[in-house]
């Protein structure tokens, strides 16, 4: 087992553990912090796959901007363990069973897929670097890129309109 495989398993365990803690933490602030850990380990996976641009964007956009926004809203509302609404125990149990069934079905369906012999190339290949992605983004995907700027503008206007006081 070389260092890459060890890192893969470590990051996978970190991501899954963080995700489990997100949905089991009573305090919403802890959930946000565990989700940040999950996002960092997913960024680690991106670095392992040599998708450096996406790793940095993931850290900046998700772990940086979006999670700070979540934390800010939670602290603004002063949510904590005492105000956390709890579902009934049976409803939680049924939800966990339903999620587990979906997991079981998907794993069973994809256990013997055609791609079984394939593998993802780790720490090699330069398609994930900014040079290649930038060229492609500003030539083939320039129209979606510009449309996404309009999407951002409309999202900003929407957030301001929704969030203002009546």
């Amino acid at each position: 087992m070389n260092i890459t495989q060890i890192l893969f398993w470590l990051l996978s365990v970190m991501a899954l553990f963080g995700a489990m803690m997100v949905i089991t933490s009573k305090n919403p602030v802890y959930s946000v912090l565990w989700l940040i850990l999950t996002f960092f380990s997913i960024s680690g996976h991106y670095i392992l796959l040599n998708a450096q641009f996406l790793a940095i964007v993931n850290i900046i956009v998700y772990a940086g901007a979006i999670m700070v926004l979540f934390l800010f809203v939670i602290m603004l509302m002063n949510l904590n363990k005492n105000t956390e609404p709890q579902k009934h125990r049976w409803v939680k149990f049924i939800g966990a069973i339903a999620g587990g069934c979906l997991l079981l079905v998907l794993v069973a369906a994809l256990r013997n897929t055609e791609v079984k012999g394939q593998s993802a190339l780790l720490n090699q290949g330069n398609i994930g670097l900014i040079q290649n992605l930038g060229k492609e983004l500003f030539s083939t995907y320039v129209v979606p890129f510009e449309i996404s700027s309009i999407l951002f503008l409309s999202a900003m206007v929407g957030a301001v309109v929704i969030g203002r006081k009546e």
Binding site: L69, I94, V107, I162, G163
Partner: protein, 112 residues
Amino acid sequence: MPINYYIFLSIALFCIGITGVLTRRNAIIIFMCIELMLNAVNLLLVAFSKMHFRVAAEAGNINTTAGTDGQLFVFFIMVVAAAEVSVGLAIIVMMYRNIHSVDVNFLNRLKH
């Protein structure tokens, strides 16, 4: 790494997100679980893009850019997710201002 490992890791993260949506009542946590599901899909897209790159590279062309599309899709998913979060959190803040709670069970009739 074998692509199967990435598939199963992504499925596991996605199902944890689904379970979170089903078992929690706090609207913000539900929203965070949706982000988790988006990230699971992103991870799988990047893994598949590297798989396609490997297949193209092993077929002989050295300067191949196969798999670039997948990574750009991930980029656009992140763009859409950022826009979605800004609008969604604004809606949650408005909801908190009106009913002083983030419990989704208060909103089961979409009015109050």
